[in-house]
């Protein structure tokens, strides 16, 4: 990864983070049922994921004294709902700096601070959405958030540059222009995710195969993107349990260690139209910082999960994290290079947002944990270092996890 200098250096920056390597472990993971519209509420989905994460590590609800959720959404699990469901009434340390998206990677940083400061001993991070059920009413969901921003309302929406598939189709076309990226390249990402989902019992698309030829024959949704380049909309959620090293060793499953965390931001905020480096993501800033904290290089990564709302977003992050030179993502991802058994860089081995479920990255972390424990559906042989890359609006984040040696 090159040092950021020259004209591209100032479109964003990395957040300064303390070294929290091996100060916190993920000891339990759980996923709710991922479905199309199900009529469930987000808190009911979150509670199912929390129950399963606690079963996974053998802890009781009363052991949990920290709860992290996404502070940016108003329907996430509350302490009151936690207590009402489990019949508990103890104090819970609460943080809104968790949940999914970019925060699925950075929640362990805040948790490490809470553990070190004595605010909590066992912290659970959870995220759930019922956006498939809410879709007809267009309540919640990513579109509603973006439509409220004033410059979008004045200078973007009136021109039909909305919603997100339009942003990323525009970015994809520019990436194709600058680097020769092709539909075959984007299709390789969609096909890899689908193949993994086909083997994952919890994936929404487990029964729907997709070949590259089928992908290429599909019509354009927002040219140059097809439906298959875009994430699902689904109901679902997940949770993971974190604790300190001493406690982590005594639980049901081997701990998975947090060894590096990074966060990068774009100065253009969520105005993608104005991002100076139009075909990059702030992983340019985030990933090198996380890899430095973990003491690893990109080639040390055995399994990678990336926030993949669109195939092009995965492609750009692969480049920006240094897995290949910028602009060479297309030739990097072709064939079975991203498949769990392809001998390349196993990628979104659960199917990702494209084919597993649209639970905004928290299941990506769950998948990395399962890979490092050797219990994934598409298990990567000998996986020891796993990475989740998150990307939300102006933020990218990177979480490096290591299996228990």
């Amino acid at each position: 990864m090159a040092e950021m200098t020259g004209p591209d250096a100032d479109w964003g920056s990395a957040r300064e983070l303390d070294d929290v390597s091996h100060r916190v472990a993920i000891v339990g993971v759980g996923e709710a049922d991922h479905t199309r519209a199900s009529g469930r509420s987000a808190d009911a989905i979150a509670l199912q994921a929390v129950e399963r994460a606690l079963q996974d590590c053998g802890l009781e609800p009363a052991d949990v004294d920290g709860l992290m959720t996404s502070g940016g959404l108003d329907d996430q699990l509350t302490a009151e709902q936690f207590h009402a469901h489990f019949g508990t009434r103890h104090d819970l340390w609460i943080s809104g700096e968790g949940g999914g998206m970019a925060w699925a990677a950075t929640a362990p940083y805040r948790a490490a601070q809470a553990l070190a400061g004595g605010d909590a001993n066992v912290v659970i991070n959870t995220f759930a959405v019922a956006w498939a059920s809410q879709r007809d009413a267009m309540r919640g969901g990513p579109g509603e958030f973006h439509a409220r921003e004033p410059f979008k309302a004045q200078l973007e929406l009136p021109f039909g540059w909305f919603p997100q598939p339009v942003y990323f189709a525009t970015i994809a076309r520019r990436h194709m222009h600058e680097y020769g990226t092709s539909p075959h390249h984007l299709g390789a990402i969609a096909v890899a995710c689908r193949r993994h989902a086909n083997s994952h019992p919890g994936a929404v698309m487990r029964n729907k195969p997709l070949t590259l030829d089928e992908y290429l024959a599909r019509p354009m949704l927002v040219d140059p993107l097809r439906v298959e380049d875009c994430c699902l909309i689904s109901d679902g959620g997940a949770a993971y349990v974190m604790t300190c090293p001493e406690r982590a060793r005594d639980l049901r499953k081997p701990p998975v260690w947090v060894s590096g965390i990074g966060e990068g931001r774009s100065e253009a905020g969520t105005y993608w139209s104005q991002q100076r480096n139009f075909t990059s993501t702030p992983q340019v800033f985030s990933a090198p910082a996380a890899f430095r904290m973990a003491g690893i290089e990109p080639e040390d990564v055995d399994v990678l999960t990336l926030y993949d709302p669109f195939t092009i977003v995965a492609l750009m992050q692969i480049e920006d994290m240094g897995f290949c030179p910028k602009g060479e993502g297309g030739s990097f991802v072709v064939g079975d290079h991203l498949h769990f058994d392809g001998g390349g860089l196993p990628f979104n081995t659960h199917g990702g947002l494209l084919s597993h479920a649209y639970v905004l990255g928290i299941s990506h972390v769950v998948e990395v944990v399962r890979q490092l424990r050797g219990e994934a559906a598409c298990q990567v042989a000998g996986a020891r270092v796993g990475v989740y890359g998150g990307y939300t609006g102006h933020l990218a984040s990177t979480l490096v996890l290591e299996g228990d040696a």
Binding site: P158, F159, W161, T170, H177
Partner: protein, 141 residues
């Protein structure tokens, strides 16, 4: 979400942009101190931090930076306009300044990145609602 995406031309942050469009002028703020174009509008120049910005009338010419062709209705207000091409124009005066626009007077198949385009000023309206004149972009030739 089903509300009309018509811009509010009286909103202070972008009022000169829409006033200019009504007079068939493309207007963008320029820093009086260092001369850079500042987009999106903001109170201070991001290059030199001066707070003296003035709205300038530009040539209205530029090139296609990138675009998407919306082939299936994703969003109700634009459902009856598909297929349409929407994206970004890089302005002649500073190619790093990008305007979001709709490309008009050509079929999406005729459009290409780096193609020269010019602003055309046309009324925008949704359903039976009011009109606001906005800059759209068309092939230069």
């Amino acid at each position: 979400m089903s509300a009309s995406p018509l811009p509010d031309p009286t909103l202070e942050i972008t009022r000169p942009f829409f006033e200019g469009a009504a007079r068939r002028e493309l207007r963008i703020p320029r820093c009086r101190a260092c001369g850079v174009l500042v987009w999106y509008p903001r109170p201070r120049c991001p290059a030199c931090d001066a707070d003296a910005l003035a709205w300038n009338t530009l040539s209205g010419r530029g090139t296609v930076f990138s675009f998407a062709v919306v082939r299936r209705a994703l969003w109700k207000p634009f459902a009856d306009r598909v297929p349409y091409a929407t994206g970004l124009v890089a302005l002649e005066e500073d190619r790093d300044v990008r305007l979001v626009t709709t490309f008009v007077h050509c079929s999406p198949e005729e459009l290409a990145i780096d193609q020269p385009v010019r602003a055309v000023f046309e009324p925008l309206r949704f359903g039976d609602g009011p009109e606001v004149v906005v800059p759209l972009f068309a092939p230069l030739a």
